[in-house]
Structure formats: C-alpha cells, structure tokens
C-alpha cells in the first residue's frame, strides 16, 4: 500500500515534468525580434526600473512585430543567470539586464550563447563580442539642476540626499555642487548618504535631517520621491532624480534629472538584428537625450530658465566640460589643475568631493 502510493506520486511527478517539457516553450509566430528586460526592482511608478520599463513600452510601440517581456525584482546574484537562460530557452535574442551588478553573471551566460545580444549597465567591468553596457553622463544633468538650486536658494544651504557611495553617485553630487557654485559661490551643499536606492522612510528621514540643518532646497539620487516629498511637506524646494517626479509634489518640484532609454534601446535592437551593434561601453548624455531634465517649476524666473538653456546648449555642443580645473576638494587642495579636463575614466573613479560640499567623503 505504502509503496503503491509512492509509486503513484512518482508517476504523477513524471507526468507533470513531461507536460511541462512538451509545453510550447518558444511560441513562434510573430516575425519580429524577442527582446527581454530584467529589472532589479519592481516597475512601480517612478525611478530607474520604471524608466527602463518605459523604454520597453517605447520599443513595443516603435518596432513592428517586436515581442517584449520582463522579469522584475531579480537580485544582483546568480538568479539573473537563471532568468537569462530562461529567456534564451524561450527564444529571446536580445536581453537588457538593467542593473550594474548583473554584469558578472551575464558575461558567463553570454559566453555560452554567442548569438544572443546582451546589454548590461555600465561602467563596463568586462565586455564580450555579444555583451555591451550602457549608462549615461548623469552629471551633465546634475550640473544644470545645480544651477536651478543655486539660483532658488535663499538660505544658501542646499541638501543632497545621496544614495550609495559609488563613483557614479559621487560624480553626480560633485557636478551638482559645481552647478550650484557656478551661479552662487557662497552657497554650500550638505550631503548625507542613505546607502539605499529604494527605502522611503530612510530617505525621508535623511531629507528631514538636511531641512533641520537649514537647507531650503533638497536634491536626491534615489528611485523614490521621498526626499522631494519631505521638502514639499516642509514648504521647501525639491529636485527629483531618475524620473520626472513633478506629479508627486507639483508645487515643490523645481526640476530634476531623468533617464530616457527608449530611442537608444530601439537603435540597439534594430542594429542587433543585422549584427551591426558593435560591443561597447556606451554613455548617453544630454545631447542624445538619454540624460534629460524634468519640467522647470513655474516659479523659476525667466532669466534662470534662459541660463539653464544656455548652459545646456554649451554642454551639448562640448563648449562646456563640467569637470575642468581648477577643481579643489573639500580641504581646499587642488585636485584637478587649471586647464585640465577630467577624462571619463577619471570621472568614473571619483572618490572625493569638491569644495563647497559639506559631509562625509566616501573614501
């Protein structure tokens, strides 16, 4: 009797496995490419992952016959390799793995699947013929938001709720501070680190501590509008990040940086169909629209708008390079001599904060 029951269970299991193997794994039919997206967080209604899902929707609208799919909340561990293999088994030929930490696992999967195009998030640790990375010169946008903050502050104290102490975030804080001080040399930027990308209470608390320290403009680098909301509740100004966060606090939102990946994703997918997308570590910027600015608050005076527009053109045309010497660090020591412009590689290894930033340096 007992053996009989066990045998029955085994048969049932075997039948289940057989059924699932026979299931239509790769539903053929549509002619277009199958493009997969892997997200580190939930799509939600704002933030990094949300912007990537906007790109997926853009792709679906602009490339006829394309099939898109996504998996969200995939941790930056070996899980991503499983998800990638699953997509490949289903016949997906382009995979956007949209978190920096996926790189180490993606490169191994890519080696075994040379016909699949992989796009990770830079800066690139390692590339392969079928592995590219993309990121953006976010600091260009941060500089412009700094100009707005520098002009709008009355207290001459501006808060920055920074995320993880990694080089790309540090570069953003520095660009922001340089933007502030380009129009308001007596203003200072106070920075606190939350060590989070998505932790509303912690980020709000961090913003509150900056408001308590006298800041009347709060900038941020997280996926949630928490810092902006804290500023709005205190009746102060806020500057968003990642997404256009205007609708969360229309009165307080001065402007903010945004990511727009759709056109680039379309370009990569189209080129990869003819194997014309060369492996590279790509950096979007203000000019190609990957980095952008959210709408300016109606309270921002026309003169300031004109100044922001002018600086934007200068950056786009290459006339203005933000990280050009002389640049001093927090102690006043010259770190970039006059006449020298930091290379991309130098920017991506930033581990010090520029003069005018108050707060702990990541090093």
């Amino acid at each position: 009797m007992r053996m009989g029951w066990r045998r029955g269970m085994l048969w049932a299991l075997a039948a289940l496995v057989a059924v699932s193997l026979a299931a239509p794994g790769a539903a053929r039919g549509a002619a277009g490419p199958k493009v997969a997206f892997i997200y580190v967080g939930p799509v939600g209604d704002a933030g990094w992952t949300f912007q990537w899902d906007q790109a997926r929707r853009y792709l679906a609208q602009h490339v006829p016959g394309v099939q898109t799919s996504y998996v969200e909340s995939v941790p930056e561990t070996a899980d991503v390799a499983r998800v990638e293999n699953d997509f490949i088994a289903k016949g997906f030929s382009v995979i956007f793995a949209t978190a920096f930490g996926y790189q180490n696992f993606t490169i191994d999967v890519a080696r075994r699947h040379p016909n699949v195009t992989f796009v990770g998030i830079g800066p690139a640790i390692k590339l392969a013929p079928n592995v590219s990375t993309v990121y953006g010169k976010l600091w260009e946008g941060r500089y412009l938001t700094g100009i707005v903050a520098g002009k709008m502050t009355r207290a001459n104290v501006i808060g920055f709720v920074a995320a993880h102490p990694i080089t790309t975030v540090v570069a953003g804080v520095n660009a922001f501070a340089l933007g502030v001080r380009s129009v308001n040399p007596s203003a200072k930027v106070k920075v606190v680190w939350t060590g989070t990308w998505y932790d509303p209470p912690k980020e709000k608390q961090a913003a509150q501590s900056l408001l308590d320290a006298g800041a009347d403009v709060i900038a941020q680098h997280q996926d949630t509008p928490s810092a902006l909301l804290a500023a709005a509740e205190a009746g102060k100004w806020g500057i968003g990040s990642e997404s256009n966060m205007q609708r969360f606090a229309p009165k307080a939102y001065l402007t903010g940086t945004t990511w727009t990946w759709g056109p680039l994703v379309e370009k990569i997918v189209k080129a990869s169909e003819t194997h014309a997308w060369a492996s590279q570590d790509y950096y979007g910027n203000l000019r190609d629209g990957v980095v952008g600015l959210g709408p300016l608050n109606p309270a921002v005076p026309a003169a300031v708008r004109a100044q922001v527009a002018e600086k934007k053109r200068a950056i786009e045309s290459g006339r203005l390079e933000i990280f050009t010497g002389p640049l001093r660090d927090q102690t006043g020591k010259v770190r970039v001599p006059a006449g020298h412009t930091m290379s991309l590689k130098e920017i991506l290894t930033f581990d010090w904060l520029v003069e005018g930033v108050e707060g702990k340096s990541p090093k």
Partner: protein
C-alpha cells in the same frame, strides 16, 4: 457551536492526501485569481513548472538554489530541537561567507588545500557568530530570539563595510563587490552536472543530524532539553554546555551555507549574497517539522517555488502575483498540515453561555 480540536492520528496515506489536497486547493484559488486579473492560469502554471523542473537545466538550478536553503534549514532545525530560537542563520551565513572569502582572497593555495580551509572557516565563522548569543543565553538566560536577530544586522553591515571598503574590487567602480575568487577557491561541480559540490554538504549534514538526533544519547539529551530544560537538568544533563554546543553547531551549518554560496555560486563576496535564506530557513524547518530529510525536501520545494516564480513572470505575470502564488502554496501546505492533526467539530444543542470559557480552555 464550532470548535477546533485535536483528532485521532491519520494513516500516512490519508495525511499525504490531505496535504496534496491543500496544495491543489491553493493552485485552484491561484488559478481563479490569475483568470480574474487577465492571465492564462494554464500557461502561467506551465511556465512556473518549466522554470522549476521543466528541463535538466531548470531542475539542476532548483537543486543549486536548494543548497543554502537546506543548510540553513538544517542549522536552525537543530537549534529548534533543543528549544533554542536561532533566528540568526542569515547573519551566521554572512559570517561564514566572510571567513571563507578571507581565505579565498588572501591565500594562494592549491584547491585541494584551499577548499577544505574555506569550508572549515565557513563553519568557524558561522559557529563563532552563534556563540556570541549562546553565551549570555547559557549563563543568564538572555532571550536568544532578540540577540540572534539583531546580530544579523551587525553581520550584514560588516560584510557591507568589507565590500565597500578594504575588499572592494578596484575595477568595480566602488560598487559593493570583492575581487573575483581565484579558480582554486571555486567549489567544483559534481561530475556531469551543473550542481556544485555544496550539495554533498547537504547530504552529509542531513544524514549526520538524523543519526545524532535519533540514535545517540546526546541527541536524546538535546530533544529532552528542547521539551523541558528543567527536566533535563533534573536528570543530570549538562544543559548549559548543550546550549552552547547546539548553538555553535547550528551556526556552523549556516556558515557553511555562506561558504557554499560565495565559493560555489557567486565566486566573490558581495552585498546581498543571501536574499533572506536564513529567514526562509525558519519556515522550512518548521514545515518539515524539524525532520532533517524533511527539511531537505521542503528546501527543494522552496527553491522550485522561487525559480518557478521568476519563470512565471516571463508569461506576463507581475512579481507581486508570483510572490502571492508562492505564499498561497506555502500557506496551503501549512493548513493541510494543521488538519492532519486537528479537525473542525460542529456540535449542536449546547448552551450559548459556555463558549467563552471553552475557548479560553483551548490550548
């Protein structure tokens, strides 16, 4: 008048049937929910099954995912047998990973020496971390639920400090990753499979635990201590020494799980090596009713649910619904289990004045 009461023991077949019926009920409820939200339940379940066991690759990946779940589950099961609430497997895993990584990054030994050293250090790391709360528990009866739980945060922050700071990979732009381990520090795959040798730890420890608990005098002491520490002390058993020993062994097994993850799966130490294995371990151990081989079985079920959940998303089901289905299956297993030993009794004709007392008398 409806009350819940214990029932006479069921036959094994009936009990298994009841548990299966619970799972079937969960799947039906899930199917209704999927249909109501506009998804195809058949396709969704097939995707889930395919992702969990639908191919040799998927089945082996489920086995890989089950390794840390089973090890941490076995570790906490041992502690629970002795009546010790070790909620700290997550931190013990991290400290095991930390010490193992120290050897992997610092010693250039050949694999035959390095891997055993890392395994040993994994055991030591987890064991020492569990000794910290074990000492006050043994000496002063300090509540180990609180201390083991809080030490998790300390351990995770310690690993964060290392991977952001002294151990940060210079080529990773200060993202929280150590340098990759040398090949000698990587656990080999079992011949002919994609499953790393950590699976052998699971088999060895489950077998050892089963033997020790059921067939040795010490195992008997542990179980008596778990049921009644005072009775154990009255019988002359060394309760304090056993508390220390059980906690250290429990932590050591969790530490070994950490070694397996960094050496067998990830190949470096980084932030987020465990997406909560140490907490899932508690549920796994209880679902298995602390039986060692049962723990291994439930760990495999958990792993299948996790991997199946990612695959489920590829058919367009959001992550939140995937987690909900996972929870539904677990919940139904628990409910099925409850009704193996309890039943709902409906009685008629009793006065309405009594139920309050009766309910209070219910254990």
């Amino acid at each position: 008048m409806i009350r819940i009461e214990r029932r006479a023991p069921m036959s094994r077949e009936a009990a298994a049937g009841l548990r299966l019926a619970g799972v079937a009920g969960a799947l039906l409820a899930g199917a209704a929910f999927l249909s109501a939200t506009g998804h195809d339940p058949g396709q969704a379940y097939l995707d889930m099954l395919r992702g969990a066991v639908g191919s040799p690759y998927a089945a082996q990946q489920t086995a890989v995912k089950a390794i840390p779940l089973a090890l941490t589950g076995l570790g906490v099961a041992l502690a629970f047998h002795a009546g010790l609430w070790n909620i700290g497997a997550e931190g013990q895993l991290a400290m095991g990973a930390f010490l193992a990584s120290w050897a992997a990054l610092g010693l250039s030994w050949p694999a035959w020496a390095l891997l055993p050293a890392m395994g040993l250090l994994g055991l030591v790391g987890g064991g020492l971390w569990a000794l910290l709360p074990a000492v006050p528990r043994a000496l002063w009866g300090t509540n180990e639920i609180i201390t083991t739980l809080l030490l998790n945060y300390v351990a995770l922050l310690w690993v964060d400090y290392l991977v952001f700071g002294p151990w940060a990979d210079p080529s990773a732009f200060s993202f929280p990753y150590s340098r990759p381990f040398p090949d000698a520090a990587r656990l080999p795959l079992l011949p002919g499979t994609q499953v790393h040798a950590g699976a052998l730890f699971v088999v060895a420890i489950a077998a050892a635990l089963g033997f020790v608990l059921r067939r040795t005098a010490w195992g008997y002491e542990i179980r008596v201590t778990g049921h009644s520490p005072r009775a154990a002390a009255y019988a002359g058993m060394p309760v304090r020494a056993n508390v220390l020993l059980v906690m250290v062994l429990s932590g050591a097994v969790a530490g070994l799980a950490g070694m397996g993850e960094v050496s067998g799966v990830i190949g470096r130490i980084q932030q987020g090596i465990s997406p909560g294995y140490g907490y899932s371990a508690i549920i796994i151990a209880w679902l298995a009713r602390l039986s060692p081989w049962g723990t291994v079985g439930v760990a495999v079920l958990f792993a299948a649910l996790i991997n199946g959940g990612f695959a489920l998303q590829t058919s367009g089901v959001p992550a939140a619904i995937a987690s909900m289905l996972q929870a539904l299956v677990l919940f139904s297993v628990l409910v099925g289990d409850f009704f193996v030993s309890h039943r709902v009794a409906v009685r008629r004709g009793r006065a309405a004045a009594l139920p309050a007392q009766e309910a209070a008398a219910e254990p």
